[in-house]
């Protein structure tokens, strides 16, 4: 493996702000109501900041599939390591050009 040092090092929001590193084309807004009016009329206004870490799971599990064509009416049985058997059924039916109900998907 080769490692390269990348500069500038930007791993936090604060780093990004400091280095003016923004994704302008991906900005999103959530806007509802009149925020300034709400602040003026609020009984209490609190200030502060809050941080929490994120964690991405590294999917270690092995993947496997067993496909058994039934030989009748284009039926096909598929046992697959998936949490989305509906998608397996849909995609297989499109690729094989058979009606979706010919595919019996098990996990």
């Amino acid at each position: 493996m080769t490692y390269r040092s990348i500069e500038p090092l930007i791993v936090t929001i604060e780093d990004a702000i400091k280095h003016n590193s923004f994704y302008h084309e991906h900005s999103r807004e959530i806007v509802k109501g009149d925020i300034n009016k709400a602040f003026e009329e609020a009984t209490h206004v609190l200030n502060g900041s809050f941080q929490m870490s994120g964690q991405e799971h590294f999917y270690l599990e092995t993947n496997a599939v067993l496909v058994v064509p039934k030989g009748e009416d284009e039926e096909i049985d598929i046992v697959c390591s998936t949490q989305n058997p509906s998608e397996v059924q849909e995609v297989v039916s499109k690729v094989l050009n058979i009606p979706a109900n010919r595919g019996k998907i098990d996990i």
Binding site: Y59, T82, N84
Partner: protein
């Protein structure tokens, strides 16, 4: 313990479809599993 992180949401299709094509064409059962390597 744990789980539900979405690891099997879409990867299953990547295995199922080629195996299904082969099984359908050849009309033979096909088994394919990946080891952790």
């Amino acid at each position: 313990m744990g789980g539900g992180f979405g690891g099997k949401e879409t990867r299953g299709v990547l295995l199922a479809v080629p195996a299904a094509v082969a099984a359908y064409r050849l009309q033979r059962p096909i088994r394919w599993y990946n080891t952790s390597k």
